[in-house]
């Protein structure tokens, strides 16, 4: 196995991370732009990448912009917006075929073209009258609005979103990373451009390149292109998330036209990615619900035959764990009971040697697989940048191998059920 080692530099406020390797048939490029998640800025910051992807100064019209991507052998181009604790992160991605596979001319340089395209798109947008183009801002406002409205289409996702809102009712974390629907209307081309300027100068920006290249080549390409003013940079916020817990579990039942009930249980886990004991929290989540051998799958699905899916997901940035299952509506109480029994079982250290071995083997495997995907290698390294705690594939595997049952039971005792959210049908609904 090739060792993965990033070469790093900083250029004009841009942190650059390059991993030279010839294992992949592409150049994978990622740019992370992070800022604090706040009620005021979450919506403009979410809208900005939508407007940027409509055109840059070199390719002002969207059709020409998209044609350029086709010419780069259909370079993958996209962006995601998500939350990591109370930070809002915009991630642009590009994925371009390595020159040796295209059969193109000798002097072809797809990495240069890719980086040029990305840096121009993020740093040199299409403008008119000292602002973004009106037509792009207007259209993309509609697009973001539609995206937020569409959350309800996927009922499992909707239930997870609603459970999160309930858990963090007084915390900016309740906002969707795409912003607030009621704050979209008032955004306009001029003021959004001002938001952009302040965002791009203060945000933490990390550029990753994985492929058949090296740091000096990337620096040579980036230097003349990246001319952003940079003010004092914000730092990623991982404040004290140890919020007061509730006295009683918050139970929320909502009704919509659904065939299947969607059950979400939100738990607070006061253990975070930088904590030394964090690998035990990962093991806790694995034993509980990440795999087909986990307690939730075995007991809710295989033994009780109540569900097709029953799983858990740990968020080590925010200190929460979300359990989700799709069930027959009449089985709500029984499913909650079975899930609570599993939570209690782990707290009582009812964990078999087999469960320990299987979970360690599965997590080790998942971690080793990271090295086969350029974007996963990037994502793991970015966690270190984000949290200030470096964890490599090797170090996490080693830490997991040492986790003991009492440590997992200890985590389980700190975990606290916060909210039970159940989305059910309208049958038997009381009329108003």
């Amino acid at each position: 196995m090739q060792k993965t080692r990033f070469e790093r530099a900083e250029e004009g406020g841009l942190r650059i991370h390059v991993l030279p390797t010839d294992r992949f048939k592409t150049y994978a490029v990622s740019m992370y732009i992070g800022s604090p998640l706040t009620e005021e800025t979450v919506t403009p910051h979410a809208l900005i990448p939508f407007v940027l992807r409509r055109g840059n100064r070199a390719y002002t019209e969207t059709k020409a912009f998209r044609e350029k991507l086709d010419e780069l052998y259909g370079a993958g181009f996209g962006f995601d917006i998500y939350k990591r604790a109370n930070n809002q992160i915009v991630q642009f991605r590009m994925d371009t075929i390595a020159d040796r596979y295209t059969g193109a001319a000798e002097d072809a340089d797809l990495l240069r073209e890719t980086l040029t395209f990305l840096l121009q798109t993020v740093g040199d947008p299409a403008l008119e009258n000292n602002g973004f183009l009106n037509k792009y801002v207007d259209a993309e406002k509609v697009t973001v609005h539609k995206r937020l409205e569409a959350i309800i289409n996927d009922k499992a996702r909707y239930a997870a979103e609603r459970c999160t809102q309930e858990m963090f009712a007084n915390d900016a974390f309740r906002f969707n990373a795409l912003g607030r629907m009621d704050a979209i209307e008032k955004l306009e081309a001029r003021t959004l451009y001002e938001s952009y300027l302040s965002w791009i100068s203060r945000a933490q920006i990390d550029l990753y390149v994985v492929g058949d290249t090296n740091l000096s080549k990337v620096l040579e390409i980036v230097k003349p292109l990246w001319k952003q003013k940079h003010a004092e940079k914000m730092v990623y916020q991982f404040g004290d998330e140890r919020y007061a817990s509730r006295q009683e579990v918050n139970e929320v039942i909502e009704r919509l036209d659904v065939n299947q009930g969607k059950l979400n249980m939100g738990l607070r886990v006061p253990i975070y990615y930088p904590d030394e004991i964090y690998p035990a929290a990962m093991m806790y989540n694995g034993i509980l619900g990440s795999y087909p051998h986990s307690k939730l799958f075995i007991n809710v699905r295989e033994k009780a035959s109540l569900a097709y899916y029953a799983s858990s997901r740990l968020d080590g940035y925010k200190g929460m764990l979300m359990i989700q299952s799709g069930i027959e509506i009449a089985n709500y109480k029984q499913a909650v009971e079975i899930i609570k029994e599993q939570l209690n079982a782990i707290a009582d250290e009812q964990i078999s040697d087999l469960e320990m071995d299987q979970t360690k083997a599965m997590m080790t495997n998942q971690l080793n697989e990271v090295n086969d995907s350029a974007f996963e290698i990037i994502a793991l390294d970015f966690n270190a940048v984000l949290t200030g705690t470096e964890r490599t594939v090797e170090s996490i595997i080693s830490a997991i191998s040492k986790v003991t049952k009492p440590q997992i039971a200890d985590i389980a005792q700190q975990v606290k059920l916060d909210t039970i959210y159940f989305l059910r049908d309208r049958k038997g609904e009381k009329s108003e």
């Binding site: 196995m1 090739q2 010839d22 294992r23 992949f24 048939k25 592409t26 969207t62 059709k63 998209r66 044609e67 991507l69 086709d70 010419e71 780069l72 052998y73 259909g74 370079a75 075929i97 596979y101 295209t102 059969g103 037509k135 259209a139 697009t143 539609k146 409205e149 569409a150 959350i151 309800i152 289409n153 996927d154 499992a156 036209d257 659904v258 065939n259 299947q260 795999y291 087909p292 051998h293 075995i298 035959s305 109540l306 569900a307 097709y308 899916y309 799709g326 027959e328 071995d357 299987q358 979970t359 083997a361 599965m362 080790t364 495997n365 080793n368 697989e369 090295n371 086969d372 995907s373």
Partner: protein, 428 residues
């Protein structure tokens, strides 16, 4: 066992057909940690009427291929997931129209995991009790899909197009149809379709091919199977006409979802070469017509008739072929009307050589990118192998296409009498 070299994609494929008929393919990926293995049978949701080994003609309940897939994971000793988990392998399976695939990915204990994969799929264990229990789980899976608007609009279109062909039956069946499944029907299907001669094993990743192949040979040599005779499958005559012009499903959605497409009028059987040329030509054509760099896309987006999730797809097999176009829209009727007008413009002015070259180049890039993904290589290779098509030869097919091929494809495909529409909208 000699490897076949594919210099254009820089890959080497080791192939062997074992004495019992099983096709084995191994693709070593240098520098990769992970190995992905998929064991597939040519048995999918459309295979619901066939001749069994004893010569009798049988019709099986809808959803049985998928039900069988679920039940294979159970062994006398317990759940196979447990066995994979102990060796750090993530296992899974899926059922499509024409195949069932069992798979795992792992970074360690590869040979043992491959043996587990072969052994569990070749060792059915069905009891009245475990079959009954599965009905609750699959019932919930069916309910889950019933709540997914994207699935409903997709399936709605296939239902609108096909009158008799079993492709119009949901892969999982219905709660009612699976209630008729018992262990006897499962065993009948198993013995008909899970013969090694009807199956293929594809392994890709950081493996040593010769040694692994020897292990597979030895594993298969310990098992006995009757001689293989290809399965006779019966498909009803499918009229060239669509079933209904429009199918509307009610479900809570933020905006109506609209997919529309053209049912291909298959005149006679296509050879594998014709089939793949038709598919790849259609894909280049559809990029020219519907991708984000097309005039149609940008125009409809400006008119707020489509969202950025708008897309298109084209599927062809020996017994069905259709296109699928659409996404979320404020006005399905207007979307189709405008598409029709823009396609008419395109037929006059759209066949421009530079646009064709650009879209072909995009397709080639997309194809090459798949080779970063062991999962994609294994599943795509098997999917096409079952149609007698070599997935590793697509590059030269793309390169052989001409603007004239694309123009002809356009004229053949867009027959407006063959249009079907599927809409999901909120109850009023």
């Amino acid at each position: 066992m000699k490897p076949i070299s594919y210099p254009r994609v820089n890959e080497q494929l080791f192939s062997e057909t074992l004495p019992n008929g099983l096709e084995v393919r191994i693709l070593p990926k240098e520098g990769f940690t992970k190995t992905y293995a998929v064991f597939s049978t040519r048995f999918g949701s459309i295979d619901n009427h066939f001749r069994m080994g004893d010569g009798s003609d049988v019709r099986v309940p809808d959803g049985i291929a998928h039900f069988l897939e679920h039940k294979m994971f159970e062994e006398r000793e317990g759940d196979v997931f447990q066995k994979f988990a102990a060796k750090g392998a993530s296992a899974n399976a899926f059922t499509s129209f024409d195949r069932t695939a069992y798979l795992f990915s792992a970074t360690d204990h590869i040979e043992e995991n491959v043996m587990t994969l072969l052994d569990f799929v070749q060792n059915p264990y069905f009891t009245d009790e475990n079959v009954e229990k599965e009905k609750g789980i699959i019932g919930q899976e069916i309910q889950m899909y019933g709540d997914l608007p994207d699935w409903r609009v997709y399936y709605g279109l296939i239902e609108a197009m096909y009158q008799n062909h079993p492709i119009h039956i949901d892969i999982a069946g219905t709660v009612e149809s699976i209630s008729k499944i018992d262990k006897e029907t499962l065993y009948s299907c198993y013995h008909t379709f899970y013969h090694p001669g009807n199956m293929a094993l594809f392994i890709v990743g950081g493996v040593e091919p010769q040694q692994l192949m020897a292990q597979i040979r030895a594993n298969q040599a310990t098992k006995t199977f009757p001689p293989y005779t290809p399965v006779d499958r019966f498909y009803p005559d499918e009229p060239s006409e669509i079933r209904e012009k429009m199918k509307v499903t009610q479900l809570t959605v933020s905006l109506p979802k609209c997919l529309f497409g053209f049912k291909e009028n298959l005149k006679g059987t296509l050879s594998p070469e014709q089939m793949i040329k038709q598919e790849l030509t259609s894909r280049v054509l559809f990029d020219m017509l519907f991708s984000p760099s097309s005039t149609l896309y940008q125009t409809l987006y400006e008119e707020n008739l489509i969202s950025d999730q708008f897309g298109s797809d084209y599927q062809v097999s020996s017994t069905y072929a259709y296109s699928m176009i659409g996404g979320d829209t404020r006005d399905p009727d207007l979307l189709i009307e405008r598409t029709r007008a823009l396609l008419a413009d395109f037929s006059k002015n759209g066949f421009i050589s530079t646009d064709f070259e650009r879209c072909r180049r995009k397709r080639i890039g997309g194809y090459l990118r798949l080779f970063n993904s062991p999962e994609a290589i294994a599943n795509e290779y098997t999917k096409y192998r079952f149609k007698q098509i070599d997935f590793f030869e697509f590059l030269s097919i793309y390169e052989s296409l001409t603007l004239e091929d694309v123009r002809k494809r356009f004229d053949d495909h867009f027959d407006w009498t063959q249009l079907a529409v599927s809409i999901v909208r909120s109850p009023s």
